[in-house]
């Protein structure tokens, strides 16, 4: 599903963000990129989300080499990847339902279709009871759930979440982990980046440790 090899990334200032990164995630697998701040997790996720092009090395997603994709193909692939960036914040002046409908409509769905998909996604993440809550009213765990709903709304091929446990208490983190595991068990390949520690129940997943831009284990 995801195969990364010899991936390097350097900032404009010459700082190495990723150094010879190798990573492999099979279809339907749940993986965690664990590492301290500035370890290169977010950059790696953005590279995998086709949000930025790789400088050197190879990223294969569903067998497609990201570096060799045309702009059009890269855009198509990007649309098939559900990505929640670090510090995700919902649209504060819109309701939970409107948040998802907004995303879907901007992606080209008509209102009825967008609402149908939004309701299905919100049901999957357990936010049905909060449909009319404003974005600013959500607690951190609900924000994460909304982020997940937004990302999985269009049945993506791959689901990436940057820091899903940030700012969550132990119980909320366990709840979010359960949600991620549930999403993964439906067959969706899932990769999340976190500074750790992972919730106790996360034993049945692949964990990749990233330190100073290098995969350490």
């Amino acid at each position: 599903m995801i195969q990364v090899s010899e991936l390097h990334c350097t900032t404009d200032d010459g700082i190495k963000v990723l150094e010879d990164v190798h990573l492999r995630l099979e279809r339907g697998e749940l993986g965690f990129l664990v590492g301290p701040a500035a370890a290169g997790k977010s950059i790696l996720l953005r590279l995998l989300a086709v949000q930025i092009p790789p400088q050197s090395g190879q990223i294969l997603i569903l067998g497609r080499n990201v570096a060799r994709l045309s702009r059009q193909k890269a855009s198509e692939l990007r649309r098939r990847i559900g990505f929640v960036p670090q510090g995700f914040a919902p649209l504060s002046r819109r309701t939970v339902l409107e948040n998802v409908v907004f995303r879907q409509r901007a992606r080209g769905d008509f209102h009825e279709q967008a609402e149908e998909k939004a309701l299905a996604a919100l049901e999957r993440v357990g936010l049905t009871s909060r449909l009319s809550a404003w974005g600013f009213e959500l607690d951190p765990a609900e924000r994460v759930k909304l982020g997940v709903a937004l990302a999985i709304c269009d049945d993506p091929l791959l689901f990436l979440y940057d820091e899903p446990f940030a700012g969550l208490g132990e119980e909320a983190a366990r709840e979010v982990y359960s949600l991620l595991a549930r999403i993964q068990s439906s067959g969706l390949t899932t990769l999340a980046a976190t500074r750790g520690p992972l919730p106790e129940m996360s034993s049945r997943c692949r964990v990749v440790l990233l330190t100073d831009g290098k995969v350490t284990s």
């Binding site: 989300a49 086709v50 949000q51 855009s75 990007r78 649309r79 098939r80 990847i81 990505f83 929640v84 960036p85 995700f88 914040a89 919902p90 649209l91 504060s92 948040n99 907004f102 995303r103 409509r105 901007a106 992606r107 080209g108 769905d109 008509f110 937004l150």
Partner: protein, 271 residues
């Protein structure tokens, strides 16, 4: 396309307060820009050649009274043509009424000539060029319009840029969400260009309407038109002005929108 139109609608819905005021100001400036451009196209020109009732800066129109016979007209013609300050004299006949169009030398008809004509017997009235034409030459008006054109252009773009900055800061959350959702940059930035295009197009359409209506009004009352803008009496020049203003206004609008799109592309938006 559906996504593009949706984002455009949401963007227009986010226009309020300062951003609406600034985009509105940019609309007014683009409107003035288009008006100034139309003014340039319609400025001066064939007053004496195409419209016998319009006067150039060095011209006079001498109307004879109804009872004037051909002999007195001939005598006046001879008197005028022999004067050193008169370049040419032309007889005009309209519905049995006779008039002489007198073109003088120098920058304007002399006061003595005017006095002499007004005191002469058999003359009903003497039309002289308007005051404006004495003070403002075509060249100075043209220069003024060019300066105004530049100022309105720059002002319009500046207002649009600041307005788009305001608009984008109130739309920053949405843009972040769209980017994270894999929505293409053209779907995010395109609507901003479209907003600019709409501003420019609407302003130029308004100017076209104004110019066309003015043309219809002044054709019925040509005496109210200042000598400097007699081009508005000529359908061909009015049509030219309209045809040029439309793409020009739309272009300025697109340029303003492109500034907004560039701001959206900079990724440094603060909600």
């Amino acid at each position: 396309m559906t996504g593009f139109l949706f984002v455009l609608g949401e963007l227009l819905r986010s226009l309020r307060g300062r951003s609406a005021a600034l985009i509105g100001a940019s609309f007014v400036l683009v409107l003035f820009f288009a008006l100034a451009f139309s003014g340039l196209v319609l400025l001066g020109g064939g007053a004496s050649s195409t419209s016998p009732l319009r006067l150039g800066r060095t011209e006079l129109l001498v109307h004879f009274s109804a009872g004037a016979d051909s002999g007195s007209i001939q005598a006046m013609y001879t008197r005028l043509i022999e004067r050193s300050d008169v370049r040419s004299v032309r007889l005009l006949l309209n519905d049995g009424e006779a008039a002489l169009r007198v073109r003088t030398v120098g920058s304007a008809p002399s006061a003595s000539l005017l006095e002499e004509l007004r005191a002469a017997q058999g003359i009903a009235s003497v039309d002289a060029p308007t005051h404006v034409a004495f003070f403002l030459s075509d060249a100075s008006i043209r220069l003024g319009l060019l300066v105004a054109l530049a100022l309105f252009f720059l002002g319009g773009l500046l207002c649009a840029r600041t307005g788009f900055k305001e608009l984008l800061s109130s739309f920053a959350e949405e843009i972040e969400l769209l980017r994270a959702s894999g929505v293409s940059e053209s779907t995010i930035q395109g609507p901003l260009v479209a907003v600019g295009f709409l501003v420019g197009l609407t302003a130029s359409l308004l100017v076209i309407t104004l110019v066309s209506l003015s043309h219809l009004v002044v054709v019925a009352h040509p005496q109210v038109v200042p000598a400097a803008v007699t081009g508005i009496l000529e359908p061909r020049r009015v049509l030219t002005a309209c045809l040029l203003v439309l793409p020009l206004g739309a272009f300025v609008g697109v340029l303003a929108g492109a500034l907004g799109a560039a701001l959206a592309g900079s990724r440094n938006l603060e909600p």
